[in-house]
């Protein structure tokens, strides 16, 4: 897996994930992902459009980081998951905990403090 980050503005960071979020893939990005999510920006948008598959370990990675962002008063949203990934998120009820957006402007608006 690959992970990159870009600043939308002073308050919002967008994290781009690409690759399969299985045990192996998550193992490759886990530490970096946690480091980026721990940045002091108020809003974190995770772009899921390049993730073709996600297993429960991927859900765990998203949840852990969402929790750490929430703990410091920030907002954590997902952007554009592919259909089957979105299905996993909905099945496991994660969509009730982490907001899923299909468009960047909406996502940006939702995390702007």
């Amino acid at each position: 897996m690959n992970i990159t980050e870009e600043l939308i503005d002073d308050h919002i960071v967008k994290i781009n994930l690409s690759g399969r979020m299985d045990i192996e893939g998550v193992g490759q990005i886990e530490t970096k992902f946690a480091g980026m999510a721990a940045s002091p920006r108020a809003g974190v948008i995770v772009d899921m459009s390049d993730v073709p598959y996600m297993s429960s370990i991927g859900i765990r990675a998203l949840l852990m980081n969402a929790k750490s962002v929430a703990k410091r008063g920030g907002k954590f949203v997902l952007l554009n998951p592919q259909a089957n990934v979105k299905n996993v998120l909905v099945t496991s009820g994660i969509d009730q905990i982490i907001t899923i957006h299909s468009d960047l402007d909406a996502a940006t608006a939702s995390v702007t403090p």
Partner: protein, 707 residues
């Protein structure tokens, strides 16, 4: 007792400790004292190689050798020739005006071919005739008379014996210390008959030292008894130049140079020089026969230095030159004269020993200190580079400056140190290899032990899962089967089923995120909690959402690893087929019936357990008909992957389970699902644990079979 490993380690560090530098210094010390074994042989051999690679070119030809060769012997009879014949030849030589004539021949006894001496071999000779014959001059007198006619030189041979002899020598001019004690010394010499010695103009010593058949060094001056004598080459130069003396220049303890007037030749410490050879050349020779029969052009010998010697005799051994030519001894004197004329005499300078020692020290330190810190491929590069550099320096110094620098010794030392280092590292590697093997073995043992423990854990885990079919064998209202297959030895999936009371059956299927040991521990905790909460709490209200909330509170409280579990728990009333269930983030189960396409059991109760600290899970209900099967599975079923990384997926599972009939049992369905998945995966490593539970309410017929 010491192990082999310890003992090897005792030996191995020697190269890196003190012995390597001490050994290096010892070798260099021996080099300075000249006591390194076989170093001289190595050195002279390397000097020979210089000469063989780049033999001297003959520039000037100041010397001609009058050679008493086979032709001369054939024509003028066997050796020794009567000295009257030599006198005759010398007279002819003087007519051709040479610069000087030197004899590489010693004549220690009177010539017995002299007329007076011959008479004693004639029996019954008339005494009057004898008296008359003895009035004739002896052959020695005739030769002495001829020797007086020009610049002539006779040589003596230095010998070590007790017989005293009168040594005649030209005067020596000393610059610096008296060199006598520093020179090649002979106690006495084999001299010529006094009549000839008195007649001759110059006196020289002919001796050279032969090492294993090769003449490499020739003394330009040597001491005989109390006298210092010049060599034949030096003396003929003095005589030809008309100089009254020869010169020896010395520093304390060593001779620096030897020469005539301004022409000084640098020498080794003992007044000798290394002979710089050119190949054997017949044009240096003139047959003595040609002198005697007058067939030579008159100008041929004009102003030349003439050496008279033999080549045609079976009597003398020919020494070898450094080039490997076998030449008459007299040619070596001729070659020395050529090098003095051309200024191409060789010198092994006094500083050479120090320079060689320093190079040895530097390279030795590079090997000892530098090499262990470098990669092995640099070792080879450095070795090749250093050897090539040394050879180039040696060759350049020889060809350009006629200096003899010993590069063989540093090269040998370098190879020796490198060899020692290689041997040392081989020993070390052996030790390391041994240690690695030991490590590997203990790792294997540990792994086997761990595997044993994991197998025990797996048996335990599988043991706490009930055998669904066996548990409800007596319950005719229920047909149930379940299977859990871990991806690793222990898994994170779980299922459970038991009768809560007489009519109600509780069951659960869960999937902990991840796999392996952490997941399995989490799984055991979860399963136990659900069961205990189900048994403890009042379940008459059929409120499974409340049960899920309780369990979630317990599990989420102590969860540092942030693991979570998706779960489907249900309570089936066997009296009416009423199912109460709560789905906590789990895959939606399938409902199967003969002749119908499988469909999903809807209803989401909430997120997976232990994600939210407190959550009000919702309870759902469904009423089964006796034909319907409920198939609950974990994502190990739908998310199995083929070798081509294709996902099995829910549609394939539905397809595989769409062909059931009225006689199909729960166990059949489990088998169908598992074999379909295994066929699809085709031997690829399982990506997740796989759990399937299938159950059917057969209807409320407490004592009837239901086919």
């Amino acid at each position: 007792m010491k192990s082999i490993k310890t003992r090897l380690l005792d030996i191995a560090p020697y190269f890196s400790g003190w012995p390597a530098p001490v050994g290096l210094l010892l070798l260099i010390g021996l080099h300075f004292f000249g006591t390194l074994p076989y170093q001289d042989t190595l050195r002279t051999f390397s000097f020979d190689l210089y000469q063989i690679a780049q033999p001297r070119e003959r520039i000037s030809a100041p010397v001609l050798i009058v050679d008493i060769d086979e032709v001369s012997l054939h024509k003028y009879g066997q050796w020794p020739w009567p000295r009257s014949l030599l006198a005759q030849m010398l007279d002819r030589l003087w007519q051709m005006e040479p610069a000087a004539v030197a004899f590489d021949i010693i004549m220690p006894e009177p010539d017995r071919a002299s007329p007076c001496l011959v008479t004693q071999y004639i029996p019954q000779i008339d005494p009057g005739l004898v008296r008359q014959i003895c009035k004739l001059p002896s052959n020695d007198s005739l030769l002495a008379a001829s020797l007086r006619q020009g610049h002539s030189v006779l040589g003596v041979a230095g010998i070590d014996s007790d017989t005293p002899a009168i040594i005649r020598a030209p005067p020596m001019r000393m610059l610096g210390e008296n060199p006598k004690g520093m020179l090649r010394h002979f106690t006495t010499a084999l001299t010529n008959v006094p009549e000839l010695e008195e007649a001759v103009f110059g006196h020289a010593i002919l001796s050279t030292d032969i090492e294993r058949g090769i003449v490499r060094r020739v003394p330009l001056v040597a001491s005989v008894a109390e006298t210092v004598m010049p060599s034949l080459s030096l003396e003929i130069l003095r005589v030809a130049s008309g100089s009254p003396s020869f010169t020896v220049k010395s520093a304390p303890g060593r001779v620096e140079a030897v020469g005539i007037q301004d022409l000084m030749v640098p020498t080794q410490d003992d007044g000798s020089i290394w002979v710089h050879y050119s190949p054997h050349d017949p044009s240096r020779f003139v047959s003595a026969a040609k002198i005697l029969d007058g067939s030579l052009e008159p100008d041929f010998l004009k102003q030349k230095l003439i050496l008279v010697g033999f080549s045609g005799l079976g009597l003398v051994d020919f020494p070898s030159t450094a080039l490997g030519d076998r030449v008459p001894g007299v040619e070596i004197h001729a070659q020395i004269l050529e090098t003095i004329f051309d200024g191409t005499t060789l010198l092994r300078p006094a500083w050479a020993l120090w320079a060689e020692g320093s190079v040895m020290l530097i390279f030795g330190l590079v090997v000892i200190v530098g090499f262990p810190r470098m990669k092995a491929r640099f070792h080879v590069l450095i070795m090749v580079g250093a050897i090539a550099l040394l050879v180039a320096i040696g060759m350049f110094a020889f060809s350009r400056y006629h200096l003899l620098i010993d590069v063989a010794s540093p090269i040998f030392l370098l190879l020796f140190m490198f060899g020692a280092m290689l041997a040392d590292s081989l020993i070390r590697e052996e030790v390391q290899l041994k240690a690695l093997e030991d490590d590997l073995r203990s790792q294997r043992e540990q792994a086997a032990k761990n595997r044993g423990e994991m197998e025990a854990a797996m048996r335990f885990q599988m043991g706490i899962l009930p055998d669904a079919a066996a548990t409800f064998l007596q319950e005719s209202r229920l047909d149930i089967a379940a299977k859990m297959q871990p991806a690793k030895m222990v898994g994170g999936d779980l299922y459970d089923c038991f009768m809560l009371d007489e009519h109600r059956m509780f069951f659960s299927v869960g999937d902990v995120c991840g796999k392996g040991v952490p997941a399995s521990l989490f799984m055991v905790i979860s399963k136990t909690l659900w069961k205990s909460v189900a048994l403890r709490d009042d379940m008459h209200y059929m409120n499974l959402g409340k049960l899920m909330r309780q369990a979630n509170l317990e599990i989420a409280r102590d969860n540092p690893e942030m693991l979570f579990v998706t779960a489907f728990v249900g309570l089936l009333d066997l009296r009416d087929g009423e199912l109460v269930y709560c789905n906590a983030g789990h895959e939606k189960p399938l409902i199967l019936a003969p002749g119908c396409h499988p469909r999903e059991l809807d209803g989401a109760g909430g997120p997976p357990v232990s994600i939210m600290e407190d959550y009000e899970y919702k309870t759902q209900r469904y009423r089964f008909s006796p034909e319907e099967f409920l198939c609950v599975f974990s994502d190990g079923a739908t998310e199995a992957f083929s070798p081509a990384q294709e996902e099995y997926g829910k549609p394939r599972l539905s397809e595989a389970l769409s062909t059931i009939s009225s006689t199909t049992t729960a166990l059949d369905i489990v088998g169908m699902a598992v074999s379909s998945i295994e066929h699809f995966v085709d031997g690829a490593e399982a990506s997740d644990d796989l759990t399937i539970m299938v159950l059917r309410w057969r209807g409320n017929q407490s004592n009837a079979s239901n086919d």
